[in-house]
């Protein structure tokens, strides 16, 4: 299959830097292709196709993460100024393989409404289920933001254990398979912890989700921060691997959004406008469902 340029000519994460042993060759998949990568003793990453010729791929390390591209990726990487703040802890939160489209994994990451059900007792609890209106905007250079998100959380972070509090969130999507979450820090009022979800599309229906933590927390050990993150992701894993179809449908008559899904809707629309097809469920478009009046399913890039 031919993969559209917007997906093909892109950087994808293959590992968080600290998880890679120098001079060891790792095999993985990207967009259905076998690839291999390794770091030298200085931590420089190289990657190549897993074929007899070992055709080289582009590879680089950015934001404590190794990235590989099979095509011709853009020069400019997305901005992450918090990475350079000296008082932040930088560490990986784990890499998990999931039997679902990476786009579904990103969408789940952008969603608050599932907290009281999937993360009961951690990120949410009944009866505090209502999602208050929040603001979604497209901001230069074409990133999606959800601002003024608030949600009551019984235990929103590994260190909070005081009966719950309203947590402020900002969600940000920079690339089809890259999302960032900013959430109010329990330790530094007015500043926010950052969690990056960098998704590696292994195939259209399998992905590997790499998590990067940029935290303002001087006390919790690394293992504690990681364990919390992995507990949360482990809860998501059950749901993600039970979403059908595994690819992300963009047609809102097939999967019906409500107001709480404004961010998810903006993400699906943004994917559609960019012409992303890889990892999306399009089978019904050709069949029973004609495009609604005034709306075409694939539009020019905004």
């Amino acid at each position: 299959m031919t993969i559209e340029s917007v997906v093909w000519d892109e950087w994808y994460p293959v590992a968080i830097a600290e998880d890679v042993t120098p001079c060891k060759v790792y095999k993985t998949r990207l967009l259905g292709h076998s690839i291999e990568y390794a770091c030298d003793a200085d931590g420089r990453v190289t990657a190549w196709h897993g074929n007899a010729e070992r055709t080289p791929c582009k590879a680089l390390t950015r934001y404590h993460t190794h990235w590989v591209s099979l095509g011709d990726p853009p020069e400019r990487f997305f901005a992450l100024p918090e990475f350079d703040e000296p008082d932040r802890r930088t560490l990986g939160g784990g890499s998990m393989t999931v039997h679902v489209s990476g786009l579904r994994a990103i969408e789940n990451f952008l969603d608050m409404a599932h907290f009281p059900y999937v993360h009961d007792g951690f990120l949410g609890a009944e009866p505090y289920t209502d999602v208050l209106p929040y603001d979604v905007s497209i901001e230069p250079p074409g990133e999606i933001f959800a601002r003024n998100c608030r949600f009551f959380q019984p235990r929103g972070a590994s260190t909070s254990n005081d009966g719950g509090y309203d947590t402020d969130y900002i969600y940000r999507v920079t690339r089809p398979y890259v999302a960032l979450l900013y959430k109010s820090s329990p330790h530094h009022p007015g500043r926010m912890d950052v969690i990056g979800l960098f998704v590696q599309p292994l195939t259209e229906e399998w992905c590997r989700a790499h998590t990067l933590l940029l935290y303002l927390d001087e006390t919790t050990p690394d293992s504690g921060l990681r364990l919390f993150q992995q507990t949360i992701f482990g809860q998501d894993l059950m749901l993600l691997s039970n979403e059908i179809p595994k690819k992300l449908p963009l047609d809102s008559r097939f999967e019906i959004p409500v107001r709480a899904d404004a961010m998810s809707m903006a993400y699906r629309r943004w994917l559609d406008q960019r012409g992303v097809r890889y990892g999306t469920y399009r089978e019904l478009e050709a069949q029973a469902m004609p495009a609604p009046a005034g709306q075409t399913l694939t539009r020019a890039v905004a």
Binding site: A113, D130, V136, K246, S252, V258, M265, A293, Q295
Partner: protein, 601 residues
């Protein structure tokens, strides 16, 4: 899959597989099924996919009369599959488009049968011709035995099952065994220990390469016939399956799984239409004069197939009643969910509504009072939940006259769950106070009788000034009463989001609506869009199809192109730039800032 196969009924489970409060995962023609039984015993067969974000419903919970999706807690009710609780927006009723994809299902021959081509509630019955099985004869009984999976196509499975007798010690040497076969079933009949016995094998094409073999034993009803049969059938089927695997006909491991490829259910005839849903027959089991000019009517579903249809609702709900005068009227439910009517002979869960005879009635309430007697049959809708309790710390209920009806149901819920509440009931006089027994069962009830409008306002101000700050306010009564409370709450600085009241016709706030006109450029037709009605509703009433989905301005499905005029955007779908440009709008929520909009329709 062929049309002929697909148009038919298939057995998908033994009746006992659908255990209480369980959701059984089934498959038919590669379509995943969520099969479950509600607490009244009614069987539901649904596409195993939540229509919100695709989560498998079998991951969720059967809570008695609803299935709750595990992803976002959306709750779909038994019967029509309508979503009635959407926790992310607990105050608004879910759009009618949010509904499980249902299949027709019946129990027969101790099996559960499903037809993918028909929705639930479809009156057709399963054909029995080439299944070889019929209803048991007089004095005979049918029992489903254990179902077995064969990892092979249906034709291979059929050829295998035809050899069943050879794998049962007693049948293998019995010359009286007669075998009949059809493309989807095998029938054995014989005499054993003086009894005429029959075994029916019915093949369920779960997947192209996976077939379920259901077995039904038919024996004299008075025989203790089933005794050895579960073990005997299990042993024979295991031997048969091993042989088929040894012969290379059947795989010992699954050849595919549902995760390999998603198969959507086949299209169904459209029987459910928005706004014209099917009404059900309800029997009036009791009529009571509960106050001057107010009668209560206890209703329960008449037809066995609708038996749970009134059992489940959210306190504050109403039903539509087709009154003898021919008018559809909304009446609030006063009873609690799951209540068994005092007058019910069958012990069926129903609802109690209250109807006040309106002096200027156009016939609706007058015909209810004048013509409906105990034992009468009326047509009603399933409960509709537009008025709901919020998740706040407490509730202050303010009722005037007949408006007490939904508030009593809500107060009952607050009392039952031990949450803080108080009820103030304004009435013209003691003779007009309804439901004394229900009031007595509550704790913090205050009657305000015979007050003038001025005195009512003063009383409202006093109640709101001293109310517990944890409470939200719930109002039901005539418009001036509602306005007085909203005004008093505003004066006290209480947020509008803490005052809840009943809006029968729509879920979106219409407080700032202005009427406007639209002209349809292609036909030149001009239409008025009044306050309280959406553009999409007006268009569809006039036969202009604008497809809608979320009905909340989120999904973009109902986008229409604007040629002239200035839309007033109330959606969250369009970007700020698109809203400023004003070339398109969402017909389900957005209105007009100009007097006229010209649409490209």
């Amino acid at each position: 899959m062929s049309e002929a196969l697909n148009s038919a009924w298939f057995p998908v489970a033994g009746a006992h597989d659908l255990a209480e409060r369980h959701i059984f995962a089934g498959e038919l023609h590669n379509v995943e099924l969520a099969l479950w039984r509600d607490d009244d015993g009614c069987v539901n067969a649904w596409d195993n996919r939540c229509c919100h974000r695709g989560a498998r419903l079998t991951l969720g919970a059967n809570t008695g009369h609803r299935v709750r999706c595990q992803y976002h807690g959306w709750q779909y009710r038994s019967g029509d599959g309508q979503c009635i609780v959407l926790p992310a927006a607990s105050q608004t009723p879910p759009p009618t488009s949010v509904c499980a994809h249902t299949f027709a299902a019946v129990e027969r021959n101790d099996l559960v049968w499903v037809n993918l081509n028909l929705p639930a509630g479809h009156p057709a019955c399963p054909p029995q011709g080439d299944w070889l099985i019929a209803e048991p004869g007089a004095g005979r009984t049918q029992r489903a035995l254990q179902s077995f999976v064969l990892h092979a196509g249906a034709a291979t499975a059929l050829a295998g099952v035809q050899r069943y007798a050879a794998f049962d010690a007693r049948l293998s040497g019995d010359p009286s065994v007669a075998l009949r076969s059809s493309p989807r079933a095998v029938h054995l009949s014989w005499n054993e220990d003086g009894q005429a016995l029959q075994l029916f094998f019915l093949l369920q094409p779960a997947r192209t390469d996976k077939t379920l073999v259901h077995a039904v034993l038919e024996a004299p009803a008075d025989a203790v016939a089933l005794g050895p049969w579960p073990a005997r059938h299990q042993a024979a089927m295991k031997r048969l399956r091993h042989r088929l695997i040894d012969e290379g006909r059947v795989s010992d491991v699954p050849l595919s799984t549902a995760d390999d490829a998603y198969v959507p259910p086949p299209p169904q005839p459209k029987v459910r239409q928005r706004g014209s849903e099917r009404l059900l027959k309800a029997r009036v089991t009791r009529v009571t004069e509960v106050a001057q000019d107010i009668r209560s009517f206890e209703l329960e579903p008449e037809d066995q197939g609708d038996i749970g249809a009134l059992a489940d609702f959210i306190p504050g709900a109403h039903i539509d009643v087709l009154t003898p005068a021919g008018l559809l009227r909304q009446y609030s439910i006063v009873s609690a969910p799951g209540e068994i009517n005092a007058g019910s002979a069958r012990g069926v869960r129903g609802v109690t509504i209250a109807v006040k005879r309106e002096p200027d009635s156009r016939g609706g309430s007058a015909s209810m009072h004048g013509q409906i007697r105990e034992g009468a049959i009326v047509e009603v809708s399933r409960p509709k939940n537009h008025f709901r309790l919020a998740n706040s710390g407490g509730a202050l209920f303010l009722a005037a006259g007949i408006g007490v009806t939904p508030l009593l149901s809500m107060a009952g819920q607050m009392a039952a769950t031990g949450r803080l509440h108080a009820l103030h009931y304004f009435s013209r006089g003691a003779a007009h106070v309804a439901f004394r027994e229900r009031l007595d069962a509550l704790q913090d009830v205050h009657l305000h009788l015979g007050l003038s409008p001025e005195a009512t306002l003063a009383q409202i101000q006093s109640i709101l000034a001293t109310m517990d700050p944890q409470m939200d306010i719930y109002v039901c009564g005539p418009r001036p009463f509602l306005d007085a409370i909203v005004g008093a709450a505003q004066a006290l600085g209480l947020g509008a989001d803490r005052v809840h009241f009943e809006l029968f016709s729509n879920t979106i706030s219409h407080q700032n609506d202005k009427p406007f006109k639209v002209r349809l450029a292609r036909s030149g037709v001009e239409l008025n869009v009044p306050v309280g009605q959406s553009l999409s509703d007006v268009l569809s009433e006039h036969g202009i199809a604008v497809e809608t989905s979320c009905e909340q301005g989120v999904c973009g499905t109902c986008m229409v192109t604007v040629l002239e005029g200035t839309p007033e955007h109330r959606d969250v779908y369009l970007s700020e730039d698109e809203k400023r440009a004003g070339h398109c709008m969402q017909a389900c929520v957005s209105r007009s800032a100009s007097e006229m909009l010209v649409l490209d329709l």
